[in-house]
């Protein structure tokens, strides 16, 4: 297994160390490329690079990317290109020029920029944090890291898959109760 494939494996296990390594390895070339090709400010370039790295990570977790047909850098920059163009569209800027980064398919973002949604997400985050461990980690492992219930049972030391499922269901109910109660209370106050 080559080094890039190895790092992909580590990412698929949810390794934050691997994520940090990728961030550091391609940061300078990405900023240089996005500033010189798209005339972005350095701050915008850094911000978009962070989003790009996170989306790359999610591609691996969602198993949309399991093997690399091109280099890791090409894949990363292709995501970056889409994010930069999206940013330019939103800020009313146009890009006239050429870049050599090929298009690569990547999955659509499930989150929107809608302000109402953002308010709900913030409440949701508070409720998720309030769950504590292992509840929070179990839900994150299932819904974000895409671990199977068998993997969760193994990682969190549940007796078997059925016990893990039951625990996940209880955690989910607690999360939903907190979220919908808070939403209803804040709606009542408005």
């Amino acid at each position: 297994m080559n080094q890039e494939q190895e790092i992909l494996e580590e990412l698929s296990q949810g390794s934050r160390e691997a994520l940090t390594k990728i961030y550091k390895d391609y940061r300078q070339p990405f900023i240089h490329w996005s500033v010189s090709t798209y005339a972005l400010s350095t701050d915008d370039a850094k911000d978009l690079y962070q989003t790009t790295v996170i989306l790359f990570y999610e591609n691996v977790l969602n198993k949309k990317l399991t093997t690399l047909n091109s280099s890791l850098k090409t894949y990363l920059f292709a995501i970056g290109k889409n994010k930069i163009r999206e940013h330019l569209r939103k800020t009313g800027k146009t890009f006239i020029g050429l870049d050599s980064v090929p298009d690569q398919p990547y999955y659509d973002d499930i989150l929107t920029d809608d302000d109402t949604d953002k308010k709900s997400y913030a409440i949701f985050k508070k409720c998720l944090d309030a769950l504590g461990d292992p509840c929070k980690n179990v839900l994150v492992s299932f819904y974000y890291k895409n671990f199977t219930m068998a993997e969760i049972a193994d990682a969190f030391d549940y007796k078997n898959e059925a016990t893990a499922k039951n625990s996940k269901y209880k955690c989910l109910q607690r999360l939903k109760a907190c979220f919908f109660n808070t939403i209803n209370q804040s709606d009542g106050q408005n």
Partner: protein
Amino acid sequence: MDAREKYIEQIDRFLCGELSETEEREYRLRLKNDKAFKKLHDEQVMVKKGITYAQRSELKKHLSYVEAQISEKDNTATASAWSYSRIAAGLLLLIGIISAIYIFSTGPHSPGLYDRYFSPPATFAPLPVRGPATPNDAIRAYNMGDFEEADRLFRASIDRQADYRVLYYRGITNMRLKNYGIAIDLLQQVLAKNNDLQPDARWHLALSYLVQGQNQQVIPLLQELATSDSQYQSNAVQLLEELRTGR
């Protein structure tokens, strides 16, 4: 498993794209005709989006922290390059490096810091295991304060129960016994596997390195905790600051 739980499982499978073509067709039909099912579906969509949002916020926070460290390094390098007197800058840098080595390598204050931050659990809860030579005998010894016996029993049970909790408990026991080398080895094994004790293992591993004077190993572990939502977050920030300022 009740009906609601079954529905949630089905919705999760749909959201992960795991339903067969026929199942998906039936699912969509139900979504159209069954209001209660549609409500449950919408709630699950919200759960997935909410968790994604929460995780992205955490990752963004982590990467911003990494970015700040890189930028700080870059700025220091740039400032040095354009310094009025390169010789003076060189000397300052040398002093800085010597100070850093002094603070981060030898750490003469480390035992004091360690004592202030090391607060091991007074007791461990029994584990849900049965059979001979279980870790619960060791837990009983630990809870009674007999750490040497606890370590012996943990060691005997590890072969049978290669469980990360046993490794973690034995790591803490060895910290109590001041066997930091063994503690480091055990806590590293806990960290190598995805589990709910990772923040605890990371924190105690950092402290074990600290008391050994291996401060270069301490920093990344504390930085990781400082950007996490774990119970050790504020202690990690504080300890990092104390190491930085040499207080």
